[in-house]
């Protein structure tokens, strides 16, 4: 049974389709990134998944149940984009209360340790810094030991250092066989922390696979060499090549199969190939290519 299943889910705001026929199945135990630019429909999809918004049409299931049932059973924990705490309550009181709402929560000490809050347990929420507040919100998301953890742009307000620590904690949580779905518009974050990336733009899925597959899918690698005054004729016919660009005397071949391209470059042309370079385009290129189409 899938941890998450969207089937033909649409959500309209007036005439605008924020989510447009979303079909997505996520098996248990995976860590999946929902990657997309602002306004792509990520938060709408997540709010529907959490039962906070109703789909205009289509069906969403969490472990085979409706989102409301799954939440009532304590299967879901989430960190939403916004959310402040009750300023008069301490970290331990806040986390202790939320964990008590779940049928089978993690021990309080363990939650505080995993969220690196042990030293702040007695501090009132009103006196926490932004990063510390985020850690408390993470603690609230994992407090009930949910099988499914959902994070909506969790690191938006964090600096680089806290971001790294945060992902270490998420990985530790996911390593216990749990399913994690996170939305982000940071490419590196999706690349480094997920084993599957679902790219979403204008409410639709435009790519779905591992970060490497997505890079390759848009001809993510380049073969380049010094062309000098030699002719470009025939370069675009080499195996794997999808596009040819000449910039300041260098030929840049975008290819889906750099090995075949290089092989053919030496064997099948009479070009004098010097200064050969093969580069993996980063996910950024792939992302821009995918989300700017049409």
């Amino acid at each position: 049974m899938n941890a998450i299943s969207f089937s033909k889910v649409t959500r309209a705001y007036g005439d605008v389709l924020a989510v447009d026929g979303l079909d997505l199945d996520i098996p248990p135990g995976r860590t999946v990134a929902l990657l997309g630019p602002n306004g792509a429909g990520k938060s709408t999809a997540i709010n529907m998944l959490l039962g906070l918004l109703r789909p205009t049409s289509g069906q969403i299931k969490i472990f085979g149940e409706t989102p409301e049932r799954a939440i009532a059973r304590g299967d879901v924990g989430a960190m939403l984009q916004e959310g402040t705490l009750i300023p008069e309550l301490t970290v331990a009181e806040t986390v202790g209360f939320v964990r008590s709402l779940y049928p089978d929560p993690l021990p309080l000490d363990e939650i505080l340790r995993m969220a690196e809050l042990t030293d702040l347990a007695g501090r009132r929420a009103g006196r926490l810094s932004g990063g510390q507040t985020q850690r408390v919100r993470f603690a609230l998301a994992i407090a009930g030991a949910p099988r499914l953890l959902i994070l909506d742009e969790p690191t938006a307000a964090m600096d680089v250092e806290s971001r790294r620590a945060f992902w270490d904690n998420i990985r530790a949580y996911a390593a216990q066989g749990r399913t994690v779905l996170f939305a982000t518009h940071y490419l590196e974050e999706a690349d480094e922390n997920s084993d599957r990336v679902v790219v979403i733009a204008r409410g639709r899925i435009v790519a779905d696979g591992t970060a490497a597959e997505i890079k390759a899918g848009v001809g993510g690698q380049t073969v380049s060499f010094t062309l000098g005054t030699q002719s470009v004729a025939g370069l675009d016919a080499l195996p794997g090549v999808m596009a040819v660009e000449i910039t300041s005397g260098r030929a840049v071949l975008r290819t889906s199969d750099p090995d075949a391209t290089v092989d053919a470059l030496y064997r099948k042309t009479t070009l004098d190939v010097r200064g050969l370079e093969i580069a993996g385009a980063d996910l950024e290129d792939a992302f821009l290519a995918l989300t700017q189409e049409s």
Partner: protein, 245 residues
């Protein structure tokens, strides 16, 4: 739910505004007024002003507490995302509003108890045990309509609107209901307004109990009617505020 009640009560007790308006105000004014006029005796009932003032200030404290502990905190929770945080836990939403109501009632106790203690200790007020018991129960259950009003305000408005509305509701009900100034010295129009307000019914029940009378049907029915209407309104408003769009 017990844990929820505990943390909700804890956070209000730590809130300075709550302590000032709800505990210090009625207590301070009771001490002041009863020192000035405590020995005067009501001509018709023969009850000393120190006893009537105990009921008035206790009623004001309880009324203020029940509105203060509901309207603004609840509006803030909706706005700040705390409500959403709880909506994605197994906590059912009926438990949420019931907890708010229970906590609001618990939080009226400090004002009621402190004003009562002040009356006993500084003015030597004494009542038969039955009257004390009746008074406490009546004053305590009687805040339900006001707590419901506070919850409705918190459900329908944003914090910056809820704040003045709660203040207006709290002082308006207290003033027009005759808690601060006796009805007898009010102009005719104000007196006719006071007669239909739940705050006047609420205090009247208390005054009648300390005078050794049985609470009048008009006051009891009045507050019950308001209670039913305001609870229905609060439930409607709460559902509107928590509906999944």
């Amino acid at each position: 739910m017990l844990k929820h009640i505990k943390i909700e009560a804890l956070r209000m007790l730590r809130n300075k505004r709550y302590a000032v308006f709800v505990v210090a105000f009625p207590l301070g004014f009771y001490l002041l007024y009863s020192n000035l006029w405590g020995d005067q005796v009501d001509a018709t009932t023969g009850v000393k002003a120190s006893v009537i003032l105990m009921v008035s200030m206790g009623a004001y404290g309880a009324l203020a507490s029940s509105i203060m502990s509901t309207a603004v905190p609840w509006a803030q929770e909706r706005e700040s995302g705390w409500l959403r945080q709880l909506q994605i836990t197994p906590l059912p939403s009926w438990s949420f509003i019931v907890t708010k109501l229970v906590v609001s009632m618990l939080l009226t106790l400090p004002a009621l108890v402190l004003v009562g203690l002040a009356a006993v200790l500084t003015q030597g007020v004494s009542l038969p045990p039955g009257a004390w018991a009746g008074l406490v129960v009546a004053m305590w259950l009687g805040v339900i309509p006001f707590a419901a009003l506070g919850l409705a305000i918190g459900s329908l408005t944003r914090p910056d609107t809820a704040q003045p509305l709660a203040m207006i509701g709290m002082f308006g009900l207290a003033l027009l209901g005759g808690l601060w100034i006796p009805l007898d010295i009010m102009p005719e129009t104000m007196r006719s307004i006071a007669k239909v307000l739940p705050s006047n019914d609420y205090a009247t029940i208390g005054w009648q109990i300390v005078a050794g009378e049985t609470p009048s049907a008009s006051a009891v029915l009045g507050i019950l009617g308001w209670g039913v209407a305001l609870i229905a309104f609060a439930i409607f408003a709460f559902r509107r505020a928590t509906v999944r769009a």
